[in-house]
Protein backbone atom coordinates (compact mmCIF):
# COMPACT_ATOMS: atom_id res chain seq x y z
CA UNK A 1 0.00 0.00 0.00
CA UNK A 2 2.94 2.24 0.66
CA UNK A 3 1.45 4.91 2.95
CA UNK A 4 4.07 7.55 3.42
CA UNK A 5 4.87 8.40 7.02
CA UNK A 6 5.40 12.09 7.54
CA UNK A 7 7.69 12.91 10.44
CA UNK A 8 5.83 13.94 13.58
CA UNK A 9 5.69 17.73 13.79
CA UNK A 10 3.26 18.24 16.65
CA UNK A 11 -0.17 17.40 17.97
CA UNK A 12 -3.62 18.88 18.39
CA UNK A 13 -6.26 18.07 20.96
CA UNK A 14 -9.71 17.33 19.61
CA UNK A 15 -12.74 17.14 21.89
CA UNK A 16 -15.24 14.69 20.56
CA UNK A 17 -17.94 12.38 21.80
CA UNK A 18 -17.77 8.93 23.36
CA UNK A 19 -20.12 7.50 20.77
CA UNK A 20 -17.86 8.67 17.94
CA UNK A 21 -14.76 7.22 19.58
CA UNK A 22 -16.40 3.97 20.51
CA UNK A 23 -17.56 3.49 16.94
CA UNK A 24 -13.91 3.07 16.07
CA UNK A 25 -13.99 5.82 13.45
CA UNK A 26 -10.94 7.60 14.83
CA UNK A 27 -8.78 4.48 14.84
CA UNK A 28 -9.50 4.28 11.14
CA UNK A 29 -9.42 7.96 10.20
CA UNK A 30 -6.65 9.54 12.24
CA UNK A 31 -3.67 7.42 11.11
CA UNK A 32 -4.39 8.48 7.53
CA UNK A 33 -4.21 12.16 8.48
CA UNK A 34 -1.21 11.66 10.76
CA UNK A 35 0.79 9.78 8.15
CA UNK A 36 0.05 12.46 5.61
CA UNK A 37 0.77 15.56 7.70
CA UNK A 38 2.81 14.43 10.70
CA UNK A 39 0.23 15.99 12.98
CA UNK A 40 -0.81 13.68 15.83
CA UNK A 41 -4.48 14.00 16.69
CA UNK A 42 -5.26 13.39 20.36
CA UNK A 43 -8.94 12.75 20.89
CA UNK A 44 -10.50 13.25 24.30
CA UNK A 45 -13.89 11.59 24.18
CA UNK A 46 -16.63 12.98 26.40
CA UNK A 47 -20.32 13.80 26.11
CA UNK A 48 -21.21 16.61 23.69
CA UNK A 49 -21.86 19.05 26.51
CA UNK A 50 -18.52 18.28 28.13
CA UNK A 51 -16.71 18.42 24.79
CA UNK A 52 -18.04 21.90 24.10
CA UNK A 53 -17.14 22.89 27.67
CA UNK A 54 -13.63 21.69 26.98
CA UNK A 55 -13.59 24.06 24.01
CA UNK A 56 -14.86 26.90 26.18
CA UNK A 57 -12.01 26.28 28.63
CA UNK A 58 -9.47 26.26 25.87
CA UNK A 59 -8.45 22.68 26.68
CA UNK A 60 -9.12 21.57 23.08
CA UNK A 61 -8.06 23.02 19.74
CA UNK A 62 -10.96 21.57 17.76
CA UNK A 63 -14.41 20.29 18.73
CA UNK A 64 -16.09 17.60 16.67
CA UNK A 65 -19.59 16.78 17.95
CA UNK A 66 -23.14 16.19 16.81
CA UNK A 67 -25.65 18.66 18.34
CA UNK A 68 -26.23 21.47 15.84
CA UNK A 69 -28.07 23.96 18.10
CA UNK A 70 -25.43 23.62 20.82
CA UNK A 71 -22.66 23.96 18.25
CA UNK A 72 -24.21 27.12 16.78
CA UNK A 73 -24.54 28.58 20.25
CA UNK A 74 -20.86 27.76 20.82
CA UNK A 75 -19.87 29.77 17.75
CA UNK A 76 -22.32 32.58 18.53
CA UNK A 77 -20.79 32.94 21.99
CA UNK A 78 -17.45 33.50 20.32
CA UNK A 79 -15.76 30.28 21.41
CA UNK A 80 -15.67 28.79 17.92
CA UNK A 81 -14.54 30.29 14.64
CA UNK A 82 -16.96 28.61 12.23
CA UNK A 83 -19.04 25.46 12.12
CA UNK A 84 -18.70 23.08 9.18
CA UNK A 85 -20.90 20.07 8.49
CA UNK A 86 -18.86 16.89 8.14
CA UNK A 87 -20.98 13.73 8.05
CA UNK A 88 -24.09 12.19 9.47
CA UNK A 89 -25.04 8.90 10.95
CA UNK A 90 -28.37 7.89 12.23
CA UNK A 91 -29.92 7.06 15.54
CA UNK A 92 -31.90 3.93 16.00
CA UNK A 93 -34.35 2.89 18.66
CA UNK A 94 -33.13 -0.31 20.25
CA UNK A 95 -35.39 -2.42 22.43
CA UNK A 96 -36.06 -5.86 23.89
CA UNK A 97 -37.12 -8.67 21.59
CA UNK A 98 -40.14 -9.10 23.84
CA UNK A 99 -41.26 -5.63 22.63
CA UNK A 100 -43.69 -4.65 25.46
CA UNK A 101 -44.73 -1.44 23.64
CA UNK A 102 -45.36 -3.22 20.33
CA UNK A 103 -43.15 -0.96 18.24
CA UNK A 104 -40.57 -3.31 16.76
CA UNK A 105 -40.27 -2.98 13.00
CA UNK A 106 -42.23 0.28 12.77
CA UNK A 107 -40.92 3.34 10.95
CA UNK A 108 -42.30 6.24 12.95
CA UNK A 109 -40.12 7.18 15.88
CA UNK A 110 -42.52 9.74 17.32
CA UNK A 111 -45.42 7.30 17.35
CA UNK A 112 -43.15 4.67 18.88
CA UNK A 113 -42.19 6.96 21.74
CA UNK A 114 -45.82 7.75 22.42
CA UNK A 115 -46.59 4.04 22.57
CA UNK A 116 -43.66 3.41 24.92
CA UNK A 117 -44.90 6.08 27.29
CA UNK A 118 -48.46 4.76 27.13
CA UNK A 119 -47.27 1.23 27.90
CA UNK A 120 -44.89 2.55 30.55
CA UNK A 121 -42.31 0.24 29.05
CA UNK A 122 -38.78 0.56 30.51
CA UNK A 123 -36.79 3.22 28.68
CA UNK A 124 -33.14 4.10 29.36
CA UNK A 125 -31.87 7.63 28.75
CA UNK A 126 -28.27 8.83 28.58
CA UNK A 127 -29.12 11.86 30.69
CA UNK A 128 -25.59 13.29 30.23
CA UNK A 129 -25.97 16.45 28.15
CA UNK A 130 -24.70 14.53 25.12
CA UNK A 131 -25.76 14.94 21.50
CA UNK A 132 -27.68 11.68 21.76
CA UNK A 133 -29.40 12.82 24.91
CA UNK A 134 -30.27 16.10 23.25
CA UNK A 135 -31.70 14.27 20.24
CA UNK A 136 -33.77 12.05 22.52
CA UNK A 137 -35.24 15.08 24.29
CA UNK A 138 -36.12 16.68 20.95
CA UNK A 139 -37.95 13.52 19.91
CA UNK A 140 -39.99 13.41 23.12
CA UNK A 141 -40.93 17.02 22.43
CA UNK A 142 -41.95 16.12 18.90
CA UNK A 143 -44.09 13.34 20.38
CA UNK A 144 -45.88 15.91 22.50
CA UNK A 145 -44.45 14.51 25.74
CA UNK A 146 -43.01 16.77 28.43
CA UNK A 147 -40.62 14.11 29.57
CA UNK A 148 -39.26 16.10 32.50
CA UNK A 149 -42.76 16.26 33.97
CA UNK A 150 -44.29 13.07 32.66
CA UNK A 151 -41.55 10.60 33.32
CA UNK A 152 -42.25 7.79 35.72
CA UNK A 153 -40.28 4.88 37.13
CA UNK A 154 -40.29 3.38 33.61
CA UNK A 155 -37.90 6.15 32.47
CA UNK A 156 -34.38 5.41 33.70
CA UNK A 157 -31.87 8.24 33.63
CA UNK A 158 -28.46 6.55 33.55
CA UNK A 159 -26.30 9.68 33.38
CA UNK A 160 -23.67 7.87 31.34
CA UNK A 161 -22.06 7.45 27.94
CA UNK A 162 -23.50 5.42 25.08
CA UNK A 163 -21.75 2.18 25.93
CA UNK A 164 -22.59 2.13 29.63
CA UNK A 165 -26.17 3.21 28.85
CA UNK A 166 -26.50 0.30 26.40
CA UNK A 167 -25.11 -2.00 29.07
CA UNK A 168 -27.76 -0.74 31.45
CA UNK A 169 -30.52 -1.09 28.83
CA UNK A 170 -29.36 -4.61 28.09
CA UNK A 171 -29.46 -5.44 31.77
CA UNK A 172 -32.90 -3.89 32.26
CA UNK A 173 -34.43 -5.03 28.94
CA UNK A 174 -35.29 -1.41 28.21
CA UNK A 175 -35.76 0.65 25.04
CA UNK A 176 -32.98 3.09 24.32
CA UNK A 177 -32.08 5.60 21.64
CA UNK A 178 -28.59 4.82 20.33
CA UNK A 179 -26.37 5.83 17.44
CA UNK A 180 -25.99 3.08 14.89
CA UNK A 181 -22.20 3.11 15.06
CA UNK A 182 -22.00 2.31 18.77
CA UNK A 183 -24.74 -0.32 18.39
CA UNK A 184 -22.89 -2.09 15.58
CA UNK A 185 -19.74 -2.49 17.65
CA UNK A 186 -21.56 -3.15 20.93
CA UNK A 187 -20.98 -6.70 22.07
CA UNK A 188 -23.18 -7.05 25.14
CA UNK A 189 -26.58 -6.92 23.43
CA UNK A 190 -28.40 -9.43 25.61
CA UNK A 191 -31.98 -9.54 24.36
CA UNK A 192 -31.88 -6.18 22.60
CA UNK A 193 -32.55 -5.69 18.90
CA UNK A 194 -33.26 -2.76 16.55
CA UNK A 195 -36.87 -1.62 17.09
CA UNK A 196 -37.26 1.48 14.92
CA UNK A 197 -34.98 2.84 12.18
CA UNK A 198 -35.05 4.90 9.05
CA UNK A 199 -37.15 7.83 10.25
CA UNK A 200 -35.68 11.08 8.90
CA UNK A 201 -36.01 12.57 12.34
CA UNK A 202 -33.32 10.14 13.51
CA UNK A 203 -30.74 11.86 11.38
CA UNK A 204 -27.62 12.79 13.36
CA UNK A 205 -25.48 15.55 11.89
CA UNK A 206 -21.83 16.02 12.86
CA UNK A 207 -20.13 19.41 12.88
CA UNK A 208 -16.47 20.40 13.32
CA UNK A 209 -15.34 23.74 14.76
CA UNK A 210 -11.97 25.35 15.38
CA UNK A 211 -11.77 26.79 18.87
CA UNK A 212 -11.33 30.55 18.62
CA UNK A 213 -7.64 31.52 18.90
CA UNK A 214 -8.75 35.03 19.77
CA UNK A 215 -10.04 33.65 23.07
CA UNK A 216 -6.96 31.58 23.85
CA UNK A 217 -3.60 32.47 22.39
CA UNK A 218 -2.23 28.95 22.72
CA UNK A 219 -4.79 27.34 20.38
CA UNK A 220 -2.94 25.51 17.62
CA UNK A 221 -4.89 27.20 14.88
CA UNK A 222 -2.77 26.19 11.89
CA UNK A 223 -2.62 22.51 12.74
CA UNK A 224 -6.26 22.55 13.87
CA UNK A 225 -7.34 24.18 10.64
CA UNK A 226 -5.27 21.65 8.69
CA UNK A 227 -7.24 18.87 10.33
CA UNK A 228 -10.57 20.53 9.63
CA UNK A 229 -9.58 21.17 6.01
CA UNK A 230 -8.57 17.56 5.57
CA UNK A 231 -11.76 16.17 7.11
CA UNK A 232 -13.78 18.31 4.73
CA UNK A 233 -11.61 17.47 1.72
CA UNK A 234 -12.38 14.78 -0.81
CA UNK A 235 -9.73 12.56 0.71
CA UNK A 236 -11.09 12.93 4.23
CA UNK A 237 -14.68 12.47 3.16
CA UNK A 238 -13.77 9.31 1.26
CA UNK A 239 -11.94 7.94 4.27
CA UNK A 240 -15.05 8.53 6.38
CA UNK A 241 -17.23 6.70 3.89
CA UNK A 242 -14.78 3.82 3.76
CA UNK A 243 -15.13 3.05 7.47
CA UNK A 244 -17.27 -0.03 7.87
CA UNK A 245 -18.23 -2.45 10.59
CA UNK A 246 -19.26 -5.88 9.37
CA UNK A 247 -19.41 -4.53 5.82
CA UNK A 248 -21.82 -1.75 6.81
CA UNK A 249 -21.00 1.91 6.33
CA UNK A 250 -21.60 3.90 9.50
CA UNK A 251 -21.03 7.52 8.60
CA UNK A 252 -22.24 9.36 5.51
CA UNK A 253 -20.03 12.31 4.53
CA UNK A 254 -21.94 15.46 3.61
CA UNK A 255 -19.50 18.34 3.84
CA UNK A 256 -20.45 21.36 1.73
CA UNK A 257 -23.76 19.78 0.69
Amino acid sequence: MGIAHAALIGFITVASTTSTEQSGLFRHLLPIFENKTGIQVRVVALGTGQALDMGRRGDADVVFVHAKPLEEKFVAEGYGVKRFEVMYNDFILVGPKSDPARVNGTKDIVAALQKIKAAQAPFASRGDKSGTHFAELQLWKAAGVDIAKDKGPWYRDTGSGMGPALNSASGMNAYILADRATWLSFKNRGDLTISVEGDRRLFNQYGIILVNPAKYAHIKKDMGQAFIDWVLSAEGQTAIAEYKIGGEQLFFPNAGK
Binding site: E21, G58, S160, K187, N188
Partner: protein, 233 residues
Protein backbone atom coordinates in the same frame (compact mmCIF):
# COMPACT_ATOMS: atom_id res chain seq x y z
CA UNK B 1 -21.23 -15.91 28.65
CA UNK B 2 -20.56 -16.89 32.23
CA UNK B 3 -17.86 -15.18 34.26
CA UNK B 4 -15.27 -17.92 33.84
CA UNK B 5 -15.89 -18.24 30.13
CA UNK B 6 -15.58 -14.49 29.74
CA UNK B 7 -12.34 -14.52 31.69
CA UNK B 8 -10.91 -17.33 29.59
CA UNK B 9 -11.92 -15.54 26.41
CA UNK B 10 -10.43 -12.36 27.77
CA UNK B 11 -7.09 -13.97 28.53
CA UNK B 12 -7.02 -15.42 25.04
CA UNK B 13 -7.70 -11.98 23.59
CA UNK B 14 -5.00 -10.46 25.74
CA UNK B 15 -2.49 -13.09 24.72
CA UNK B 16 -3.11 -12.44 21.06
CA UNK B 17 -3.12 -8.65 21.36
CA UNK B 18 -0.12 -7.06 19.86
CA UNK B 19 1.90 -4.02 20.69
CA UNK B 20 -0.97 -1.96 22.04
CA UNK B 21 -1.42 -3.99 25.19
CA UNK B 22 2.23 -3.69 26.15
CA UNK B 23 2.16 0.05 25.45
CA UNK B 24 -0.78 0.33 27.82
CA UNK B 25 0.86 -1.81 30.50
CA UNK B 26 4.11 0.09 30.09
CA UNK B 27 2.39 3.44 30.49
CA UNK B 28 0.44 2.26 33.53
CA UNK B 29 3.63 1.14 35.25
CA UNK B 30 5.52 4.25 34.23
CA UNK B 31 2.82 6.55 35.60
CA UNK B 32 2.23 4.69 38.85
CA UNK B 33 5.89 4.04 39.59
CA UNK B 34 6.78 7.67 38.93
CA UNK B 35 3.97 8.79 41.19
CA UNK B 36 5.12 6.41 43.92
CA UNK B 37 8.66 7.72 43.64
CA UNK B 38 7.58 11.35 43.94
CA UNK B 39 5.08 10.56 46.67
CA UNK B 40 7.81 8.78 48.66
CA UNK B 41 10.19 11.71 48.28
CA UNK B 42 7.46 14.01 49.54
CA UNK B 43 5.68 11.75 52.02
CA UNK B 44 8.54 10.01 53.78
CA UNK B 45 10.15 13.10 55.33
CA UNK B 46 6.75 14.45 56.32
CA UNK B 47 5.77 11.18 57.94
CA UNK B 48 9.09 10.92 59.76
CA UNK B 49 8.99 14.53 60.89
CA UNK B 50 5.50 14.18 62.32
CA UNK B 51 6.46 10.90 64.00
CA UNK B 52 9.50 12.37 65.70
CA UNK B 53 8.54 15.99 66.21
CA UNK B 54 6.67 17.44 69.13
CA UNK B 55 4.75 20.57 68.24
CA UNK B 56 1.38 22.10 69.03
CA UNK B 57 -1.38 20.61 66.89
CA UNK B 58 0.53 17.40 66.31
CA UNK B 59 -2.51 15.25 67.05
CA UNK B 60 -4.57 17.17 64.50
CA UNK B 61 -1.87 16.63 61.89
CA UNK B 62 -1.76 12.88 62.56
CA UNK B 63 -5.53 12.59 62.29
CA UNK B 64 -5.55 14.66 59.11
CA UNK B 65 -2.84 12.55 57.49
CA UNK B 66 -4.74 9.38 58.30
CA UNK B 67 -7.95 10.87 56.94
CA UNK B 68 -6.25 11.97 53.70
CA UNK B 69 -5.44 8.33 52.97
CA UNK B 70 -9.09 8.06 51.97
CA UNK B 71 -9.05 10.90 49.41
CA UNK B 72 -11.44 9.90 46.63
CA UNK B 73 -9.52 9.63 43.34
CA UNK B 74 -12.23 11.37 41.32
CA UNK B 75 -12.10 14.36 43.64
CA UNK B 76 -8.34 14.58 43.28
CA UNK B 77 -8.73 14.21 39.52
CA UNK B 78 -11.26 17.01 39.38
CA UNK B 79 -9.12 19.32 41.49
CA UNK B 80 -6.01 18.73 39.39
CA UNK B 81 -8.07 19.12 36.22
CA UNK B 82 -9.27 22.54 37.35
CA UNK B 83 -5.69 23.50 38.20
CA UNK B 84 -4.21 22.33 34.92
CA UNK B 85 -7.01 23.37 32.58
CA UNK B 86 -6.14 26.21 30.24
CA UNK B 87 -8.78 28.23 32.02
CA UNK B 88 -7.09 27.46 35.33
CA UNK B 89 -4.04 28.82 37.15
CA UNK B 90 -1.50 26.30 35.84
CA UNK B 91 -2.97 26.19 32.34
CA UNK B 92 0.07 27.71 30.59
CA UNK B 93 2.07 24.63 31.58
CA UNK B 94 0.06 22.69 29.00
CA UNK B 95 0.09 19.60 31.21
CA UNK B 96 -3.56 18.61 30.92
CA UNK B 97 -4.21 15.37 29.03
CA UNK B 98 -0.59 14.27 29.27
CA UNK B 99 0.99 11.45 31.27
CA UNK B 100 2.57 14.20 33.37
CA UNK B 101 -0.85 15.27 34.62
CA UNK B 102 -1.61 11.67 35.52
CA UNK B 103 1.60 11.41 37.51
CA UNK B 104 0.78 14.62 39.36
CA UNK B 105 -2.73 13.46 40.22
CA UNK B 106 -1.56 10.07 41.45
CA UNK B 107 1.25 11.62 43.46
CA UNK B 108 -1.25 13.85 45.25
CA UNK B 109 -3.43 10.83 45.84
CA UNK B 110 -0.83 8.53 47.36
CA UNK B 111 1.57 10.89 49.15
CA UNK B 112 -0.74 10.98 52.20
CA UNK B 113 -0.85 7.18 52.27
CA UNK B 114 2.92 6.94 52.33
CA UNK B 115 3.23 9.76 54.84
CA UNK B 116 0.63 8.33 57.20
CA UNK B 117 1.94 4.76 57.10
CA UNK B 118 5.52 5.95 57.42
CA UNK B 119 4.55 8.06 60.39
CA UNK B 120 3.11 4.99 62.09
CA UNK B 121 6.18 2.84 61.42
CA UNK B 122 8.63 5.52 62.47
CA UNK B 123 6.68 6.36 65.59
CA UNK B 124 6.69 2.72 66.68
CA UNK B 125 10.40 2.40 66.03
CA UNK B 126 11.13 5.75 67.64
CA UNK B 127 9.72 4.61 70.98
CA UNK B 128 12.16 1.73 70.83
CA UNK B 129 15.29 3.55 69.70
CA UNK B 130 15.06 7.10 70.87
CA UNK B 131 16.50 6.88 74.33
CA UNK B 132 19.43 4.64 73.41
CA UNK B 133 20.32 6.91 70.49
CA UNK B 134 20.16 9.96 72.70
CA UNK B 135 22.42 8.24 75.22
CA UNK B 136 24.96 7.75 72.42
CA UNK B 137 24.68 11.41 71.52
CA UNK B 138 22.49 10.98 68.45
CA UNK B 139 19.52 13.32 68.43
CA UNK B 140 17.09 15.21 66.21
CA UNK B 141 17.41 14.84 62.46
CA UNK B 142 20.37 12.53 62.74
CA UNK B 143 18.47 10.17 65.01
CA UNK B 144 15.44 10.27 62.74
CA UNK B 145 17.58 9.35 59.74
CA UNK B 146 19.22 6.53 61.64
CA UNK B 147 15.82 5.12 62.56
CA UNK B 148 14.50 5.58 59.02
CA UNK B 149 17.44 3.70 57.57
CA UNK B 150 17.10 0.94 60.11
CA UNK B 151 13.41 0.32 59.30
CA UNK B 152 13.83 0.83 55.55
CA UNK B 153 12.44 -2.57 54.65
CA UNK B 154 9.25 -2.14 56.60
CA UNK B 155 8.83 1.23 54.90
CA UNK B 156 8.58 -0.85 51.75
CA UNK B 157 5.13 -1.85 52.97
CA UNK B 158 4.01 1.78 52.95
CA UNK B 159 5.42 2.26 49.46
CA UNK B 160 3.65 -0.86 48.24
CA UNK B 161 0.36 0.33 49.67
CA UNK B 162 0.78 3.54 47.70
CA UNK B 163 1.66 1.62 44.53
CA UNK B 164 -1.38 -0.60 44.94
CA UNK B 165 -3.66 2.40 45.25
CA UNK B 166 -2.10 4.10 42.24
CA UNK B 167 -2.32 1.07 39.94
CA UNK B 168 -5.90 0.42 40.92
CA UNK B 169 -7.40 3.85 40.60
CA UNK B 170 -9.14 5.12 37.51
CA UNK B 171 -11.00 8.26 38.58
CA UNK B 172 -8.02 10.58 38.72
CA UNK B 173 -6.20 9.41 35.60
CA UNK B 174 -9.39 9.36 33.56
CA UNK B 175 -10.22 12.98 34.30
CA UNK B 176 -6.77 14.51 33.98
CA UNK B 177 -5.52 12.18 31.24
CA UNK B 178 -8.57 12.06 29.00
CA UNK B 179 -7.98 8.39 28.11
CA UNK B 180 -6.44 9.42 24.80
CA UNK B 181 -5.70 6.48 22.53
CA UNK B 182 -1.95 5.88 22.43
CA UNK B 183 -1.12 8.80 24.73
CA UNK B 184 -2.85 8.61 28.10
CA UNK B 185 -4.63 5.30 28.00
CA UNK B 186 -3.66 3.05 30.91
CA UNK B 187 -4.89 -0.33 32.11
CA UNK B 188 -7.67 0.94 34.31
CA UNK B 189 -9.02 3.45 31.79
CA UNK B 190 -8.86 0.81 29.06
CA UNK B 191 -10.92 -1.51 31.23
CA UNK B 192 -13.48 1.25 31.64
CA UNK B 193 -13.53 1.85 27.91
CA UNK B 194 -13.89 -1.80 26.94
CA UNK B 195 -16.58 -2.30 29.56
CA UNK B 196 -18.53 0.62 28.24
CA UNK B 197 -18.16 -0.73 24.71
CA UNK B 198 -19.68 -3.93 25.96
CA UNK B 199 -16.49 -5.89 25.31
CA UNK B 200 -16.58 -7.51 28.71
CA UNK B 201 -14.26 -10.45 27.97
CA UNK B 202 -11.49 -8.09 26.94
CA UNK B 203 -12.11 -5.92 29.99
CA UNK B 204 -11.91 -9.00 32.21
CA UNK B 205 -8.73 -10.14 30.50
CA UNK B 206 -7.10 -6.78 31.11
CA UNK B 207 -8.30 -6.85 34.69
CA UNK B 208 -6.60 -10.22 35.14
CA UNK B 209 -3.36 -8.79 33.76
CA UNK B 210 -3.58 -5.83 36.14
CA UNK B 211 -4.12 -8.08 39.13
CA UNK B 212 -1.25 -10.32 38.04
CA UNK B 213 1.10 -7.35 37.87
CA UNK B 214 0.11 -6.08 41.29
CA UNK B 215 0.49 -9.59 42.73
CA UNK B 216 3.93 -9.91 41.20
CA UNK B 217 5.04 -6.58 42.69
CA UNK B 218 3.78 -7.61 46.11
CA UNK B 219 5.50 -10.99 45.88
CA UNK B 220 8.77 -9.32 44.92
CA UNK B 221 8.53 -6.95 47.86
CA UNK B 222 7.80 -9.86 50.20
CA UNK B 223 10.89 -11.70 49.01
CA UNK B 224 13.01 -8.59 49.48
CA UNK B 225 11.74 -8.18 53.02
CA UNK B 226 12.36 -11.81 53.85
CA UNK B 227 15.91 -11.65 52.55
CA UNK B 228 16.53 -8.51 54.56
CA UNK B 229 15.08 -10.05 57.69
CA UNK B 230 17.42 -13.01 57.37
CA UNK B 231 20.38 -10.81 56.74
CA UNK B 232 19.88 -8.05 59.27
CA UNK B 233 17.63 -9.59 61.86
Amino acid sequence: MGLLESLAEGLRLVATLELRLWEIVGLSLAVSLSAVLLATIAGLPIGAAVAVGRFPGRHAVVVTLNALMGLPPVVVGLAIYLLLSRAGPLGPLGLLFTPGAMVIAQTVLIAPIIAALCRQSVEDAWTEYEEQLRSLGVEGVRAALTVLWDIRFSLLTAVLAGLGRASAEVGAVLIVGGNIDGVTRVMTTTIVLETSRGDLPLALGLGAVLIAIVLALNAAAYLVKEAARRRYG
